[in-house]
Symmetry: C2
Subunit: 262 residues, 2 copies
């Protein structure tokens, strides 16, 4: 895939000690994406204008505004890529929650959410899915090795969904929530089953990250970094296996360790 | 200052190879803080319940809902610390923008914003303020060395405002926007002049981070990590000196290098 179009080159001064040298630096594009739902402007997000349809679908389904991929009639991305139009059967109440609740999230690139794990309409579905620690170690290594935009700009987050058959679906964005919504949206668009899958995220596991896993019934969530206490509580309550500090052969198992096949 | 009350201990399994050992791990508290403005619930934010008054003031002034600290009649933090009540003279239009615009930001812990640097009511005020690279190198070292909650949990962001007299004002939060709003709020509450100051942030410099500097007329913003292209454009347009990848004796000067005293 060609990622160069999401990159912008800037000429800068690189300062070492008191020596300034003019060099070219690559930065990531950041744009305002406007989401229209049944003709009405619903929200706009600061994002990398890539996988806009998956982003819109993942976000709307994370917020339970859309319950099923089958409720979507049409998705259009405007030519310049900064507007997505979704025609779908929506849950008016969830949409109103999104507006009313106005919770500022702590996660990179999510922002506002109307969803709380404590008031989920979709209860988390326990599964017999198990995974070997070795698989997690292998996948997290690949996860970081193949984060092209991150490696080029040092300015993106990544999410990856590891499916039962060993295939993966990945997405990158300047925002941590966005990356997860994009990866989930890609699975939904391809009608992939995520009930037996693992969500790998590059960011910290605050409660909203875990809530997305709950919303989409992803039983295991893995990060190289730390969870918050509310993140751990949310995972515990909803039966999610939360793994933090997954680095090399090491990882911390916070909740529902039973899914880790040692 | 006692930070232990923002920490929660959880018992976890530390997995190395296939060996699981039960250990205690420290996680950061994450709570929903409800902000009431003149008796009405305005917004809620996922945050570390610390410096709630500074957080509220910094946020409201970042969004231009409150123009001056003198417009604030009263601030109350509820006993359990999860509600802040602000009585103040507000800009109704900015408050409506905050609700209407509903832009999901890309920054850790900001979330929603109604402010765009392109439509600022406060134009950025150029100053003759200059700073030596050595000072930036020294301060960024101290900035990370003294990030207690980060060192304990690996799960917080930090912001620091370096003032003309060499003193600093710092704040930490799970959210990158929150940390900046808290640090700025602390300055406002102490009526400290930030027109000749430097804002150090632990996170990436996306456009909203730079916009906060513009809103509060902070001429220099420094991060150890990368800016986005829109962050660079915003800094360029509004006369802000943007410094990224500030590590040891090295740093990248993206815009308005004139303020760096080499």
């Amino acid at each position: 895939m060609d990622n160069t179009k999401y990159l912008k080159t800037v000429v800068i001064d690189k300062l070492i000690e008191n020596e300034a040298t003019e060099i070219e630096d690559v930065t990531i594009d950041e744009s305002r994406l406007n989401l229209y739902l049944n003709g009405e402007k619903t929200i706009s997000m600061m994002t990398i204008p890539k996988d806009q349809d998956a982003h819109a679908i993942g976000f709307l389904m994370s917020e339970n505004v859309i319950s099923s991929i089958d409720d979507i009639e049409d998705i259009k991305i405007s030519e310049e890529g900064l507007r997505v139009d979704v025609k779908a059967k929506i849950n008016e109440e969830s949409l109103q929650n999104l507006y009313k609740e106005k919770t500022l999230t702590s996660g990179c690139g999510g922002g506002v959410t109307g969803t709380e794990a404590t008031e989920l309409v979709i209860p988390f579905n326990q599964t017999a899915f198990k995974i070997k620690p070795q698989t997690i170690s292998d996948e997290i290594r690949i996860f970081y090795r193949e984060s092209e935009l991150y490696n080029l700009t040092g300015c993106v987050h990544k999410a990856m969904i590891y499916l039962l058959d060993g295939t993966t679906v990945t997405a990158e964005d300047i925002g941590r929530h966005n990356a997860i919504d994009k990866a989930i949206g890609k699975c939904k668009l391809q009608k992939l089953d995520t009930i037996k899958s693992v969500l790998f995220v590059s960011g910290r596991l605050s409660s909203e990250m875990v809530t997305k896993a709950v919303m989409h019934r992803i039983p295991i969530i893995v990060s190289r970094t730390a969870p918050t206490y509310l993140g751990v509580q949310t995972a515990h309550k909803h039966g999610i296996t939360l793994i933090g500090f997954a680095r090399g052969k090491k990882m911390n198992l916070y909740t529902h360790q039973g899914r880790i096949d040692v």
